[in-house]
Symmetry: C3
Subunit: 131 residues, 3 copies
């Protein structure tokens, strides 16, 4: 489980870090809680965090599922895991500046998610077929 | 694990699909990122996706917990799993047209979630009672 | 798994309860779906639910990871688990009244999350170091 857990921990720490950035953006752009709108620069930082949440709800169970079926070698999970995390950093850094540039980072992490759920699906079907 | 993983994969694929619909609704109703408000038709599609996220954070761990205690037969997890997914499709198709009609699909998936967490709770308490 | 599952079930039940409060706040403050803005008192109740979602995406996998490495005694998971749940009740009760008072409950649950992910990280690294 150790490689899987390292990836999960890094992705969760990144998510907490992106949440801290939302907190600072509240001060920087003058958007007091509970508001989440009113300043486009704040909204971009806020949407980075929210979109990462939408990606994590897929990424985390898909990592567990993938790892269950493809653990030879165990470090294989590091590849989609690191691609996901790099994609999220790209997404954060580009989207915070300009919403039009958020594509590449988004695509990197969604491709990693699709790879993980396809791997889980194929693994589960093979396991059912072999009884 | 295979039946459990098939249900998880289908629910996650459905969530990605509902996210793709938010992306197309941005173009269709002229709501550019980072905005998430401004057009009620867009907001309905957006809320379907967000509410499904709020349901998945319960559904996924509750599926794992339920499956851990109730795996005789293993395919039992398919019943609450399929009910949840059907509920989410009903929710999406009705809410996208009219917010007032979102009730039945919501109820179907929340009942599935309550069934899964009650099953997990009962299984865990039985396991603690038997030491 | 039983102590872990009891904590997960309680945290999920609390999240459903906070969602029910959002539903009643829609009626009470006159904010009809799909809107999520327009009344600060509604927005505070709505943000409590959303922020709890942002905390749960970390809490749940971090509980699984922590429990995997630190299960002697098995009930150890109850400590960060109960601290998290108490933190969320404090957050809900204070934030619903006044956004400026949301700090202490937030800090309690984020500290619990940081403790859980650090515990998972240390457990995973020890496991990798010992081969």
């Amino acid at each position: 489980m150790a490689y899987l857990d390292v990836i999960i921990v890094l992705a969760l720490a990144q998510f907490i870090f992106l949440g801290v950035k939302v907190g600072s953006a509240r001060g920087q752009f003058g958007v007091a809680a509970p508001a989440t709108t009113g300043n486009p620069a704040f909204e971009r930082v806020f949407r980075v965090h929210q979109n990462t949440l939408e990606q994590l709800i897929v990424f985390i169970p898909a990592c567990y599922g993938f790892f269950h079926y493809w653990k030879d070698p165990e470090w294989l999970i590091l590849i989609p895991g690191i691609v996901f995390i790099i994609g999220r950093f790209m997404y954060s850094s580009s989207y915070s500046k300009d919403a039009a540039k958020r594509g590449p980072g988004f695509i990197l992490s969604i491709l990693s998610n699709i790879f993980l759920i396809l791997g889980t699906f194929i693994g589960a079907l093979k396991s059912l077929a072999m009884g």
